[in-house]
Structures are given as C-alpha cells and as structure tokens.
C-alpha cells in the first residue's frame, strides 16, 4: 500500500538529509488560484537515488523546484540537514544552492558562447576559489563525465549528450550533497539517455552522491533506488525499486 510506504520512509530517522512536511504551493490568487502541491511529505536520506514520476501537471517539477530552492513553498516545512529552508533569506538560499546543491536541467541551461571549461568553472568563481584550484577542479569534473579534450568547445559545438555532460560536470564540480536532475534525458535520444543515466548512477553508487531526479519515463526511473509517484499535487506512491531493475 502506498500509505504504508510513505510512513515507512517518514520514520527513517532524525538524520534525514531532506524532510518535506505538508508542503503546498499555490499559483495565482482568488478565483484563478491553482494549487500545484496539496501537502507533500517526503524524506530523503543521504546517498539515496530517488526518481520522482508523474504525469504533467502532477506537481513533480514544482516539488523539484522547491527542493532545489529555486522556488518557495506557499506553506509547509522544508528541512535541509535540519535547517528550515523556508525561513532562510534569498541570499541564504543562494548560498545553500552554491554549497550543497547541483542542478541538471532538461534544456541543459549552459551559458551560450561559453566554453565547457568556463561553464564548469562558473560555480567555483562564485565560491571565490583561486584560479589554479578552479582550473584543476573543472578539469577533473570534465574528466569524470568523459569530456577531457572538449574543454574549449562551446555548447553549440557539442552534441546534446555532451552538453548534458558539461551540465553534470558543472553540477558536481562543487562536490554538492544533492544532485537535482529535472528530466535530464528529456531532450536526448535513447542511447545517449542510457549513457547519461549510467553516469548519474555511477555518481550515486561510486561517489555516494544523493540524487533526486524528475522523469516521466519509467525505464529512466528504473535506474533509481526508489520511485515516488505524484498525482494531482500529492504523493500517490513511494516504493523501493527491486534489485532486478
């Protein structure tokens, strides 16, 4: 039963990395108000790999944006490592993103006309790392995603899969606690999607990176350790994936 699964995870202990309690999100106001999230409870432990699934309009992307501190909930509580995120200021949320979160988007969202190297370096510049350390870290991240030799190519000179790899390198270059991926394979063909998913899985398995991923494809979700289904702004089911997948 779905309820049993939710309760099971909610009791996962006080050292949970992420804990959402009764999160709601309403867009617009008055007659035009639309409630995208109707009370979400979700607990994610460190090292987990969670796939968030659901039809479009189910609220999965809204939940993802709130988890990534890109958007703020209307009500409810969001604890990140015990910190109440909804009480943070705009700048504190930016620092949380800077130091703990890495993002991968469906549309890659790389800076145009900017080399892979400079894209990957960008978060480190905001962290104020010195040039030499920045350079080494960016190169290492690009090597980790298999793009050594492509440092000086701009996004328009790279394939979709390569662009997503650059985006992943940019997300992990700061060694974040959580990788948030919003439909990371949405713009890619099947073969490239598999390669990207293998890369993300290895980051989770080999480096212990916690991954939250939104997708609407079940074969992509099958790479995760746990799948959460959204329906009409609520969590419909939450289950551990079998070892078979």
């Amino acid at each position: 039963m779905s309820n049993a699964a939710v309760n099971d995870d909610a009791s996962a202990g006080p050292d949970a990395l992420i804990r959402l309690t009764a999160i709601t999100k309403t867009y617009g106001r008055g007659q035009a108000a639309f409630q995208a999230l109707k009370g979400i409870n979700l607990v994610v432990n460190s090292g987990d790999f969670v796939a968030i699934m659901g039809a479009s309009g189910s609220g999965k992307s809204t939940a993802m944006n709130i988890l990534g501190c890109l958007d703020t909930p209307t009500s409810g509580s969001y604890e990140f490592e015990g910190v109440r995120v909804e009480r943070l200021t705009r700048n504190q949320r930016a620092l949380l993103r800077r130091n703990y979160l890495g993002f991968v988007f469906q549309g890659f969202n790389l800076l145009a006309r900017t080399t892979a190297m400079e894209n990957v370096e960008l978060p480190l510049i905001y962290r104020g790392e010195p040039a030499a350390a920045r350079d080494a870290a960016a190169r290492a991240a690009l090597e980790q995603v298999g793009l050594l030799g492509w440092e000086h190519h701009t996004p328009s000179e790279l394939s979709g899969g390569q662009q997503q790899r650059v985006a992943i390198a940019r997300a992990i270059v700061t060694r974040p606690a959580v990788l948030l991926a919003d439909e990371p394979t949405g713009n890619l063909d099947t073969r490239t999607s598999r390669e990207i998913m293998e890369l993300i899985c290895s980051l989770n398995v080999d480096h212990g990176l916690t991954v939250l991923m939104v997708t609407h494809e079940s074969d992509i979700a099958a790479h995760a350790k746990r799948t959460v289904h959204f329906l009409d702004g609520r969590v419909e089911s939450d289950q551990r994936n079998g070892s078979a997948s």
């Binding site: 890109l70 958007d71 930016a94 993103r97 993002f103 969202n109 800076l111 006309r113 960008l122 905001y126």
Partner: protein, 397 residues
C-alpha cells in the same frame, strides 16, 4: 568578490562581442557627434570674435540711413573736420568711399574695390604695412594718384614682382603703388579684407566717383574715453549738421564694433547651440539603439541570470557583474567617442580655418550622459531579472 565579478563581466563582454560592439558604437557616435559639433561651434565663435577685433577695437562706424540701402544723404568732407574739431575723444576719423574697379598691371587685371580715405583709416582699422609707406599730407590734399594695396591684390597683379614703385592702371589713370598692407584674412562677414586698393579720398572723389560724397565714416575712440559718450556726441553733432528736427529720427547709424561683436558672437553661439542640439539628438538615438540591443537580449540575459542564480550566485553578485559590464562598455564608448571627436574636430577646424578649442565641459557632459545611458539600459533590465525567483528567470520566454 569584486575581482571575480570583474572577471565574469569581462568574459561576458568577450563572449558577446557583436552585442558589445553595437552598444559601444551607439555611444561612440553620439558622443563624438556632440563633442565635434560643439567644439567646432566654439571655434567658429572664437574665429568671429577674432575677426571683429581685427577690424579695430574702440571703433564707431557711421553709416547713412537707419537701415542698409535706405536712401539718406551721404556724409560730406566737411563732416570729417567737424568731428575732428568738436569731438576731442575721437583719435582718428577715417572716411571711406568705395568703388569697384578693375586694376591692371602689365598683362594682368584684377577686379577689386577701391577705398578712398586718409591715413587715419590704417590706424582705425588696425592695418599694418608689409612694405612701403602710407600717404603724405600733400598726396592727400592734392589727390595724387597713389595707392596702398592689399595682399590679395598684390598677389594677383604682381605675383613675384616688386609692387612698390610700380604703376597700376585703374580706369583711365595710372596710379603709383606706394605701400603693401599686411594680410588680415577674412572679415567677420566672410569677405576678403585683403582684396582692397586704398587711395587718398580726394583722388577717388575726383577720378572715380565724381562727387564729394563719403559713404562711411569710421571714428576710433581714444584709449580710456567712454565709447557711449563719444557715440552720443557724434549723434548730436551729426543731427545738427544734417538739420534733423527734434521730433525726427536719425537718418544715420552709429554702430560700434563691440556691439557688432556681441551680435555676431551671439549668432554663432545660437548656431553652436543648434548644432549641439542636433548632435544631442544623435546621442539620444545612440541611446535608443543601446536600449534596443539591451531589450532584445533581455530574454537571453534573463535566462542567463536564472542559470547564475541556480548555481549559487547571489543577487548582488549578478547585479554587480551587469553593472560592471554596462560601465565598462559605456565608458569605453565614451572614451573612443572623445578620441574620435578630438581627431575630427582638429581636422575639421583646420579645413574650416577656425581655431580648435578643447572644451572640457562638453567632453565631461557627453561622457557622463553616455555612461548614464549605458548604465540605465544595461543595469535596470538586469535588476528586474535578478529579483525574480530563479525558476521564473530560467523559464523566461
């Protein structure tokens, strides 16, 4: 933070070279146009006031008639003596009566204007001799056929030959050249002051005009004397001599060079302002160009701001970067504009033969204006974008 942000700003300028170039270009054109126009206008104003002072200072010009071309009796020879005797502050009284003639020397001829006058003419008009001498008293009294020629006449008639002592033919008589005037250049009205032949008044009256009339009188005022007082005395004297009744208006004018200078420099100043206003429009158009470029790129920039916010940039870091970009581009444009304007003004001033005068005020003003445009149009759209939720900036269409 400042250093890193500067790095980001410069990277962003380099990445968007075309956009940066167009932004800078708009400012360059506007700034260069405004500075060049105003600088040239100032040069022209200075040139005019220089030419007026070359007419002679402290000079009162008497003309028959209230308006140019109005039929009023000319002055008489006796007026000269009357002014000399009765107005003690008059240092020099130079009559002049003019006639356009063709002067011939050997096989060359040159159409020029003959002025009949006396030696006071040279003093009142700040003329200096390059060569030879002025008239003797006997020559003036007897109306001898002697003349002092201007540089233009000398060049056209004599070329490399020695003019003093030679004879030129004017109408039916031969006239000995006794002196050559130093060149003065253009007058404030744009005519060539050196295209002149000066003869004793009596010579011109007898041999060329055939009348005792004098069309102009130039009176120079003694140093230290009040020009206004002399003007008043002259007016009273002439009214009396010309039998003008108490209720009648003057049928002559007394102009002073100071007044003419004011009128003419006033005119060129208005023209300068007009030019400046036209150029200011081009600065404004440049500003609108910048606004266009910035607004067209606002979608891309908003998404870029979203990306930067998502990966952990603080709002103030993003804003500082955009501010630096805007300031760097507009000051670069301003500096290039000033450089171009300086070059163009120097060249154009040379071509127009007006002096080049550097005007720090207009340079500073147009630089600040361009910087303001750049900052307003570069920074404020960014400020709006940076205040959005990161996700809204990312999804900006």
């Amino acid at each position: 933070m400042l250093w890193n942000t500067l790095l980001l700003a410069l990277r962003s300028i380099r990445r968007n070279l075309l956009r940066s170039f167009l932004t800078v270009l708009g400012i360059v054109i506007g700034v260069a146009a405004v500075i060049t126009m105003v600088t040239l206008g100032n040069g022209a104003t200075r040139a005019v006031s220089d030419q007026i002072s070359s007419m002679g200072s402290n000079l009162l010009l008497l003309r028959p008639g209230q308006r140019y071309g109005e039929g009023a009796p000319n002055f008489k020879n006796s007026d000269i003596e009357a002014i000399r005797n009765q107005i003690t502050s008059a240092a020099a009284v130079a009559p002049s009566t003019n006639k356009t003639v063709t002067a011939v020397y050997q096989s060359r001829n040159w159409s020029t204007s003959v002025t009949g006058t006396n030696n006071d003419y040279f003093r009142a008009g700040n003329w200096e001799l390059a060569n030879g001498r002025t008239f003797t008293e006997t020559e003036e009294r007897a109306g001898r056929a002697v003349c002092v020629i201007g540089e233009t006449v000398r060049e056209n008639l004599f070329g490399r030959q020695k003019p003093v002592g030679s004879e030129i033919r004017i109408k039916q008589f031969a006239c000995e050249v006794i002196g050559v005037l130093k060149a003065k250049g253009q007058s404030a009205m744009g005519s060539d002051q050196d295209d002149t032949v000066v003869m004793p008044l009596r010579t011109v009256q007898r041999r060329l005009t055939g009348s005792q009339d004098i069309s102009r009188l130039n009176v120079s005022v003694r140093e230290g004397a009040s020009i206004d007082a002399v003007k008043q005395q002259l007016t009273l004297l002439l009214r009396e001599r010309r039998n003008i009744g108490e209720n009648e208006n003057d049928d002559f004018r007394v102009l002073d060079t100071r007044q003419i200078a004011q009128t003419l420099t006033g005119t060129t100043k208005i023209l300068t302002m007009l030019l400046g206003a036209v150029a200011a429009v081009s600065l404004l158009v440049g500003g609108i160009g910048i606004m266009n470029i910035m607004l067209v790129s606002v979608t891309e920039r908003t998404r870029e701001i979203g990306i930067r916010l998502a990966i952990g940039a603080l709002e103030r870091e993003v804003l500082l970067q955009f501010l630096i970009e805007a300031v760097v581009l507009s000051s670069l444009g301003g500096l290039i504009g000033i450089a171009i304007a300086t070059g163009a003004s120097i060249v154009a001033a040379g071509l127009m033969s007006v002096p080049y005068l550097f005007d720090p005020g207009i340079n500073l003003l147009s630089f600040l204006f361009s910087a303001a445009i750049g900052v307003i149009f570069g920074y404020f759209p960014a400020r709006r974008a940076a205040s959005l939720n990161p996700i809204d900036a990312l999804r900006h269409e």
